[in-house]
Every structure is written in structure tokens, then in C-alpha cells.
Symmetry: C2
Subunit: 567 residues, 2 copies
């Protein structure tokens, strides 16, 4: 039997980090290894400039850091920044059969290294990615359209924290099965004694299908969970968001080689817009695990067709994110918090709120009773005020990521008319001082009645939210639970000063299978989740069949093979 | 928010048991709560007689203990003992829509009771089942055809231990997520503080589809894992093995009612032979989890069609169980051990060995070198000797469970001729002294060459095994790994005195994704696994997509819903 490595230089280096992270995961307490501030005081005086230079040096070039991947010889690359410029990065097309062969060849040594060594090596990978967070921020910004600071945070440290969370979640799970046990069964005379060895084996090769809006944040949990459990990974990035995952892959391969493993543990399969590689790879018999973030239709195809082939499929698709407004003791705080949540990345987060339920009887607040109409107007004003200054607004709004979003945002009146609603707040075009070609839009609000469920029971991706007038909060909660249970939802929020209403909201959230944020008025937003503490998704409603990163997200990625013998 | 119950009379009663069992599961050490000996010294002087009387009292009667289930008014029941007698037990047909409604109504209180209370109540259920182990043994014997002592052990205490294992596996998994945490993120000035509550919710209603041969042993892990994670369960027993699960259901419902919960947490949906209830229930949108043991074809249907509907599907189907013979220092012990494994329940265990690979160059033993032919003859003799005495043999062989098995067993010459093999040992008809109508057969051996893979690459359920002559042990291991990887396998064994060969066998087993027993010559048999220590199945080859009872078997059965708020 192959011996499990018990010594590796990286084990000592990362033991403390892994211990601390594992404890945080057990407690679900606050923990972050990677500072979220892009400040030069933290990342080094030259980090911002170096990061920008490094990014610029990749533009209009062959991406040579992955030149050692098996290739067909063809070149792909069709990335255009949502801020305007064409990236012009050229990637060698992966030779898929050769890549699968290479991944299979890389597997045994990685499997036999054992969970502890894998976790240490992968922590080194994440640390190394962290050092290039400024460069990564530019790559994320110019593929997703996120504003710079968000690109840095969500694409850098927050994604890195989620990666580390996946690593320790997988490590903890593997630690639960001992390597060996002496089993002693009482018997007449001498007991029956056996030695049983438990060997953990990976499923095979894993596929991670990236998305356009959060190329690293949404891909890292699957990548690192699969690698940590011994499975080589092939990444199929979104054709318009290749660069962040190309950087990731190149860094990881470098660390693998340095640590004595095969670079083929992580490979990148870039393709041009309109390719079918995700489907082709998903159907390949060599692929045993699939992690996916993206549109509902392809996600559903994976959940049905790929799952039916016996593959493990983890999806995060889309849903109806809800805010139930009942009452508040901090109207300004609430409106400011919501304005930020709607505006951040122009509502292009899978966690951004879309459906706001307000009772027709109005909302009791610290500023007195506010009618439903007044509330809608106040929310519109808060959004307008928040985005009043173009130069500041673009640093929150980012750029619209695709034509679908742009079309919807530029014809709010048409949308409102089609769905039978009224424009409460139109979307405003914002001129980006640095990127005149970027299409930047502020959030719009459309008012509809609760009976018009056709209007608000589908995801309306981008800077559009619905204010839905209900009879009362009880109806709001009922519709919230019903729509999320049926159509899915990644997040939900409630505002109320009434403990009974809050209890009811918790019941409705449990029934809907969605996490709930209550009375957020400060610096925590419904669309953000913290690694090690907040689950992202629940797997309990149609928006996602998995959660970052619970036991179910990692436990199936490896299997245990026992060998037993008398001693 | 519903309060989680923290006190329940059964919590104290079963705390120590759950603690001990949880520790055993962590260590994978020997643990059994339920004594496997049917001795009156353990179960009480009157237990055997009382059990038999209780069993006889159920025959040719309405099964009144489940009369309170919602019913269509129709009566079903077509159980005939493999030992001959018609059971004549009549079950009221379950009204499925009403049962689903009842299960939904039962869910909230069970969910809100919390994991600890559920585990305690379920341990009480298993304890109560244990007290009726003798009655259960008769029910299992006369539905499965197992011999009495095996029916007692596998259908009673061993199944009960597997139930308790599932309960603590689920409990441990749920304990890993804290009920609440204060999350404190450093910030400029005061830290940001939030309370986060984590609420565990079940998936919904679970379906357990029972099998004919191990009605309790194979059903309990799914039943108790689903119940322990909060999911009400509907059991669809095999039409010819209803009684053991009817008893189980009745006992559980009684305990639920006594413990203050709804009886509808467990319901039994019996049907006559030829019914379609398993499929109908599997397709019902209310069913969220399916546990299945049985034939490959329906199992595959569940893995594709039901899984594609987003249901969690855990299957145990069939495979090719392998013995690789290389060399031994205890030929008699080895032959005796194998003879028992082939004979026990006439090879009708999903874990019974079927394919024995022997090198053409023969086998080195403590009795000198034995040619391949001699080895086959010696194994045949060992089986014949082991089963020489009819009255003793029936207590191991049991009765053949269905027509398919009987037909194969009574025409070994025809089978050998069809597959192009030679009869090494024919199956012998054994007359059961107490049940003259029982069809009891000893195991047959058919010899084939390694090139005749068509012969031995399909499951041949019942008392038939193949002795496959290979070029050498290296070829044996290669064929073993290839056939199991492709066709599945529940168990594997190897006999060798050579550490290098044993290493190779462990590698082959890991590659095949099957557990390995090495050099068993005593009282441990390849077809038996011990709860808390041995995984049953691996989920790593086509024979089963799950293992009793690893984290992956329980972790997906519940989800976590967070609610968070500032404090």
C-alpha cells in the first residue's frame, strides 16, 4: 500500500493557519486570513503599481504561463472588458484528451500524499494567489465589470478566504476517518482482533465551470474542495472571464511543481464565446465531479443530464432575492443599507435583492408612519442620492456585464409596461470618468401589486428591483416563502421591530430554505456572506443545490476503501 | 423561531449509549449495543418461545398494529415463506396522498425537537425493536429465506446496530453546526457584532425501498438516517418481505406517540407482487430522499430518473464479489472460511463472493504446492463437506428466495454449458427436516478461463460461483480491478503470503473502489461487515452509490438555514 506522506516542508509552514481556520469553521466565528483592504500599508507600497503593471503586461499577449499545458495548437480568447477595452489575451486551447490523461497521471501521487499534505500545499497556493491580489483585482474588474475595490475584495481576499474554507472543510471531513484501527471483538477465549486500514481515494477528475460575474469567488470553493480531496481539476472558465482563472491556474501549477507534484492537477480549458466545452466536458466519462455557477438553464441541464450519469453535481444558479419590509426603528439606516445593496455591482450579484415586499398599510418607522407609496419614493431617493456623484457612483456600480443587462437597464419604462408595473425610479446612465465606453447604470425600481406575480416571479438580473405592495406583512411572508420555494433564492432580508414578525420571517425563511438577514442598517449587507461563518446558498431551494461550504459540499468528493486483516 | 427542545425524558435515558456509539464511530472500533446471540441467557428465558408465539399470532391475520395508518380500504399481502408456508398476513393498503399529508403534518414538531431529542427517541425505537428480536427473526426467516440464527443476527441485532450507527452518524453531523454564534469582525472603532442562528431543517419526506433478502438490515440505515435528520419516512417494503418492516413501523409509531410525536413520522406502504408503488412514490414531488436496495435495473432507473428530479438517491444494487487466490499458509482455514462464505444463505447475500481467481500455475500452501485444478477440487470438497449433513446444512444455507435462484441452482450443468465453463461442483438439493417444501441448495462451482469474461462479468445471484483460471496473480488483480470498476462489487478478498502481492491487491482494491479482506481463515467472513467499523459498500464503484454509514450518507439529508442580526 502506498504510504501516506507524513512529512512535507509545507506542513509545518501552514499547520497553524489550518488549525486556526479549522477551529473557526467549527465555531463559525469570524476568521479571515487574507486582509480585505487593498491598502499599500497591508499589501506593500508597490503592490498597487506592481499589480497594475503585471495586469497590463498580460494584455494583447499570449498567456505564456500556461504554455506547458497540452494544447491543440489553436489559440482562443475573446475577452472584452465591460469597461470597454478588449483584453486581447490569447490562450492556447487545451487538448482535452491529453489533459485528461495528464490529470489521471497526476492523481496517484496527489492521492497518496494524504489530506494533510494536500491541505498544506493548497494553502500555499492560496497564499501565493493572495500576493497577487492587486493584479487579480484588475483581471476580475476587466472581465466581470465589478468596480475596482470590489474586484479586489470579492475577487481577491474574500475568494481566497472561501478557498481556505473549502480546504479546511475538506480536511476536517477527511480527518474524521482514522487511517487505521485495531478492532477487537470479544469472543469465547481470545478476542478476535483485526487491523483495518482506511484509505481515502478521490472520485476522479473534477470539472469546475466558471461564471462571468465572480470568476474566482464562485469557482474557488469547488476547485479547492476537489483538489483537497485528491481530485485533479479542469477549469472551464466563462469565455468572457478567463484571465482571473488563468492566473489562478498558473500560480497553482507553479506551487504544485515546487512542492513535488504534477502541474496537471489543475488545468485550464479556455474557449471562445459560443463554445460547447462545458457540455462536452460534463459528458466526458472521465469527469466525476462538476461544480457550476451560472444561468439556470444550463445548471438545470447539469442537475438532470450530468447527475443522471452518476456524476456529483454542485450548482449555483439564480433565484428571487427578497426583502420583506414591515417596520423599522432606523429608516435612514435601512434605506442606506438597501440603496447600497441594490447599487453594488448594479445588482449583478446572485445575492442582490430583487423583490421588496411592502404592506399597503405602510411602514411604521422612527420617522413616523410611512405609507407604501412614500416608502417606495424614499427608497428611490436613497438610491438616487447614493449614486448622485458619478465619479463616486462608478466605484460602487461597476459596469454592466452583458447586453441583456444593458437592454433591460436602458428601457425600464418598457419593462414596467410589459410586466404591468409602474416606474418608481428609472435607471440612470452614469458616465465613467476613466472608461467612457463602459455602460454604467443605477438601479431602477418598478412598483407592482402582489397579485401580479408574473412580474416578480422570475429573476431580473441587473439593476432592476420590484417593490411589491401586499395586503400586510403576513401576506409578504407567505409570498416570500412560496416564491422562493418554487423559484429559488440566494438571500432574504426582513425589516421589523416586532419580535413576532421576526419569528414569522424566520419560519418563512426556513420554509423557503433560504438564509435570512434581519434589520441590516449598517456595514453588513444582505448580498454579502462571510467565509467560515455564513453559508453561501443553502441547497434547500431551487437556486442552488449546494452551500459553501458545508459537510455535504465536501463529503462526497472522496470515498473510503477499507482493507482488513487479522493480527 | 421555534425553540429546539433541550429536555426530553429519553435524552437522559440514552445519553450514555449515544456518547459511546458516537465515540466508536469516530474511532471505528468494535462496538455493538445489541447482543448477537439469540441465547435465552441474554434475551430472557421466555424470549424464544414468546417470539415464536408472537410471530405465529400474526399469520393469517389482519396486521392490526398498523390499522391507524391512512388507508384506501383495500387489503394487500402476498407473502409466501421461502420455507413453504403462505404467511397470510393482510395489510391495509396505504392511502398515499393522505400519508404524504400526514407526514408533512408530522414534520414541524419533529424538526423543531432538534437532533439530540430525535437521536434519543430513535434509540428508544431501536431498543424496543431489539426486545422483539426473536419475533423479528421469524419474520425475517419466513420472508427472506435466511436460516434462523442468521435471521436473528442479521435481521435483528446486526440491523439494529446499523440503525444506531446511522442515528449517531446523523447526530454527529448535525452537532458539527453550532446552534448559534456571536460573530465579531474587527473594524475601525467598535467591532461589528452579529448573532447568527443556524437552524437545521430536513429535506422533506424520505422513501425507503426495501429488498427481499435483508428486509431490515438494508432498510434501517436509510430509515434511521432520514428520521434522525428530521425527515418523515415512508417505507415501501418488498412485496415478499413486508412483515419485518411492518413490525418495525408499528414499534416505531408506538414510541413516537409515547414520546409526544406524530406516528406519521414512519408509515408503511405495502403492496402485492407486481405493484408499481416504488416507482410511483419515487416520482412523487413530495419525496425528497430515496434509499434503495435491490436489483440493478430499478436502481439505475432511480439513479438517473429520480436523481434528475433533484432527489437525493442512495442505492445499493449488485456487483461482482471477488476472491483473488495467490498463496496461503493455512489452506484448511482458507477453504473452510470460503466454504462458509459461499454457503451462508446460499450465496444470496449482496456481499457473497462469486468470482474466484486462481493462477494457472497453482497455489503455494502450507500443504505444499497445489495446482489450479487441485485447488478447485479442494474448494469443492470443502463446500461439500461443510454441507454434508442436511440438518446442519439448512441452518447455514437457508432457503432459496425466488424462482430465478431456484432455476439457476437446479441446472448448473446447463448454466455451465451456456457460459462455456465446466462444472467443478454441482449444487445439491438438501431436504429441510422441518420444511419439506423449502428449496434448499448447496453452492455450485463452475470453472472458466480468464478469457471467458462474458461468463463471469455479470452477477449470478444465488449458490453459484466461478473459479476463473488466470495466467498469474498479476492478471487476477488486473481483471479484478477492471471488472469491479466496470460492473461493481460490494466485497473483495485476497489470499496471499506475499506482502508485495498484498500491496498490489490493496492498490487494485483502491482502483476498483471496493473494500478488501485479507487472508480470512477464521470467524470473520468476507460477506459480513461490522457496524461502526466496516463501511458497507464504498460508493466508489457501480454496485452502490453510497456507504453505510459515512458522512456523505447523512450530510445531505438536512440543510442549514441561517438567520443573522446585529447585536
Amino acid at each position: 500500500m502506498a504510504e501516506t506522506a507524513t512529512t512535507h516542508p509545507l506542513l509545518d509552514k501552514h499547520r497553524e493557519t489550518l488549525d486556526t481556520a479549522a477551529q473557526a469553521l467549527r465555531d463559525r466565528s469570524y476568521y479571515s486570513r487574507y486582509p480585505e483592504s487593498p491598502s499599500p500599508r497591508i499589501y506593500g507600497e508597490n503592490a498597487p503599481g506592481d499589480g497594475q503593471s503585471a495586469h497590463e503586461a498580460t494584455l494583447n499577449q499570449d498567456f505564456s504561463a500556461l504554455a506547458d499545458q497540452p494544447t491543440t495548437g489553436e489559440v482562443v480568447g475573446s475577452e472584452v472588458s465591460p469597461y470597454g477595452p478588449t483584453l486581447g489575451v490569447r490562450y492556447l486551447q487545451l487538448d482535452v484528451p491529453a489533459a485528461i490523461e495528464a490529470a489521471h497521471a497526476a492523481l496517484p501521487a496527489w492521492r497518496d500524499a494524504g489530506a494533510e499534505v494536500r491541505a498544506a500545499v493548497l494553502t500555499e497556493v492560496v497564499d501565493r494567489i493572495n500576493k497577487r491580489s492587486h493584479e487579480m483585482a484588475h483581471a476580475v474588474m476587466h472581465t466581470s465589470g465589478q468596480p475596482f475595490v470590489m474586484s479586489f475584495q470579492a475577487g481577491g481576499p474574500h475568494a481566497q478566504d472561501r478557498a481556505l474554507e473549502a480546504i479546511v472543510a475538506a480536511l476536517e471531513e477527511q480527518r474524521r476517518v482514522p487511517a487505521s484501527v485495531i478492532w477487537e471483538k470479544p469472543a469465547k477465549g481470545e478476542p478476535i482482533r483485526m487491523q483495518k486500514d482506511y484509505r481515502q481515494i478521490p472520485r476522479g477528475i473534477a470539472l469546475v465551470i466558471g461564471c462571468n460575474t465572480f470568476p474566482t469567488w464562485n469557482a474557488y470553493p469547488g476547485i479547492f474542495a476537489s483538489l483537497a480531496t485528491g481530485n485533479p481539476v479542469i477549469i472551464k472558465p466563462h469565455p468572457r472571464a478567463v484571465l482571473p482563472l488563468a492566473l489562478t491556474t498558473a500560480i497553482a501549477r507553479e506551487v504544485f511543481a515546487e512542492a513535488g507534484f504534477d502541474r496537471a492537477l489543475l488545468q485550464l480549458a479556455a474557449e471562445d464565446d459560443g463554445g460547447t466545452l462545458a457540455k462536452d466536458l460534463a459528458l466526458d466519462p472521465a469527469i466525476k465531479i462538476i461544480d457550476y455557477t451560472g444561468g439556470t438553464s444550463f445548471g438545470h441541464w447539469l442537475e438532470t443530464e450530468a447527475a443522471a450519469l452518476g456524476k456529483l453535481v454542485y450548482t449555483e444558479k439564480a433565484g428571487l432575492n427578497t426583502v420583506v419590509v414591515d417596520s423599522t426603528d432606523d429608516l435612514r439606516g435601512m434605506l442606506g443599507n438597501l440603496a447600497f445593496s441594490f447599487s453594488l455591482y448594479s445588482g449583478q450579484m446572485c445575492t442582490a435583492p430583487q423583490n421588496v415586499y411592502v404592506p399597503a398599510t405602510g411602514v411604521d418607522t422612527d420617522e413616523g408612519h410611512v405609507s407604501a407609496d412614500q416608502f417606495a419614493r424614499r427608497l428611490g431617493e436613497a438610491i438616487s442620492t447614493f449614486n448622485a456623484d458619478d465619479a463616486r457612483a462608478v466605484e460602487i456600480l461597476g459596469a454592466t456585464v452583458n447586453e441583456g443587462v444593458r437592454e433591460r437597464a436602458t428601457d425600464i419604462a418598457g419593462l414596467a409596461s410589459r410586466v404591468g408595473g409602474q416606474v418608481v425610479l428609472d435607471s440612470r446612465a452614469v458616465t465613467h470618468p476613466a472608461y467612457p465606453d463602459a455602460v454604467v447604470r443605477t438601479p431602477a425600481l418598478i412598483g407592482v401589486g402582489a397579485d401580479n406575480d408574473a412580474a416578480y416571479s422570475q429573476e431580473c438580473f441587473g439593476p432592476v428591483a420590484f417593490i411589491i405592495t401586499t395586503a400586510d406583512t403576513e401576506e409578504s411572508l407567505r409570498i416570500f416563502a412560496d416564491t422562493v420555494r418554487e423559484h429559488g433564492g440566494m438571500t432574504a432580508a426582513v425589516y421589523s421591530t416586532d419580535e413576532e414578525i421576526l419569528d414569522g420571517a424566520r419560519e418563512a425563511a426556513a420554509e423557503a430554505g433560504v438564509g435570512l438577514s434581519e434589520n441590516l442598517t449598517g456595514q453588513i449587507f444582505v448580498n454579502q456572506t462571510a467565509a467560515f461563518s455564513d453559508f453561501h446558498g443553502t441547497g434547500a431551494n431551487p437556486a442552488a443545490n449546494a452551500a459553501y461550504a458545508d459537510a455535504a459540499f465536501v463529503a462526497g468528493r472522496f470515498r473510503v476503501i477499507t482493507s482488513r486483516r487479522h493480527i
